[in-house]
């Protein structure tokens, strides 16, 4: 089960509202390579992993992603606090505003709502772990792109933290893949699916 800790994993204190930045950063809330998808991907894949260590790792990383989801939500919230109608119109935030006012809703930067089609749970540990490695790199690229588009240090600092976590998670998933293949047929990793064939 889950319990809530009344704190962010890393502090988010943005003083200047910036609806344009919010519209970009929200993609890590509900976009194709965002934190919500990351969490649900790992927490869904863990059931059929072939060993306890990998089940533990996916549980831990899936849980951390929820903390990242919360950090991104906090950033979007702080970036859209106390907006005037003038700022909303000028920044292009109007297309989001008309549907959600200043509420936090999981969409991509393009406005596409979050969908489970962004993730896969294939029930094959090699396949799932490769998806996880790719997912961490895709999120890392997204954070790199965000860093190209923003210049407020209050935004940059937590985004850099989140970017760094993608790299650490990538490293851990690489180790998990090694753990998984160590248990397989050395001459043919694909000889059977350890999550299905007994």
């Amino acid at each position: 089960m889950f319990t809530y800790e009344k704190k962010l994993q890393y502090p988010v204190n943005i003083k200047k509202c910036d609806p344009k930045a919010a519209q970009i950063i929200i993609t890590q809330y509900g976009g194709p390579d965002g934190e919500l998808g990351a969490s649900l991907r790992y927490l869904s894949q863990r059931y059929t992993m072939p060993c306890d260590k990998i089940k533990g790792l996916l549980t831990d990383i899936g849980t951390e992603e929820l903390a990242h989801f919360e950090m991104i939500g906090a950033m979007v919230y702080q970036l859209t606090r106390n907006l005037s109608i003038e700022q909303i119109k000028k920044s292009g935030f109007d297309t989001y505003f008309v549907d959600h006012t200043a509420g936090i809703y999981p969409v991509a930067a393009s406005g596409t709502p979050w969908t489970a089609a962004y993730i896969q749970s294939k029930g094959d540990p090699i396949t799932d772990l490769h998806e996880d490695l790719a997912a961490e790199q895709k999120a890392r690229t997204t954070y790199d792109n965000i860093l190209r588009l923003v210049d407020d240090p209050d935004i940059i600092d937590p985004i850099r933290f989140l970017r760094e976590r993608e790299i650490v998670h990538y490293q851990r998933f690489g180790e998990a893949l090694r753990l998984a293949t160590d248990k397989l047929d050395k001459k043919n990793f694909y000889a059977y699916n350890p999550a299905f064939d007994k």
Binding site: R46, K55, D60
Partner: protein
């Protein structure tokens, strides 16, 4: 039900009772009777968790001084015969 499962059941009972009162208090604070009941269940919960962790390893991610955190069975692996 083995000893570990029985202790987990006791933990869940105390935790659920405390949580139910916690939710009630979200909208009824400070109802003295509910506060006192909640504190009682919470105390019981903490004592049971301490007993569990000493015997069977960590229940949450941050008390893993040993390898038992990643040891099975995982919670979703019930019903196996």
């Amino acid at each position: 039900m083995n000893e570990r499962e029985a202790l987990l059941r006791e933990i869940s009972k105390a935790q659920f009772a405390a949580w139910e009162l916690h939710l009630y208090l979200d909208t009824h604070f400070p109802d003295a009777r509910a506060v006192s009941l909640m504190n009682g269940y919470e105390k019981k919960y903490r004592a049971l968790v301490a007993r569990y962790e000493e015997k069977f390893g960590p229940l949450t991610a941050f008390c893993d001084s040993d390898e038992r955190w990643t040891a099975g069975p995982w919670p979703w692996e019930g019903g196996k015969r």
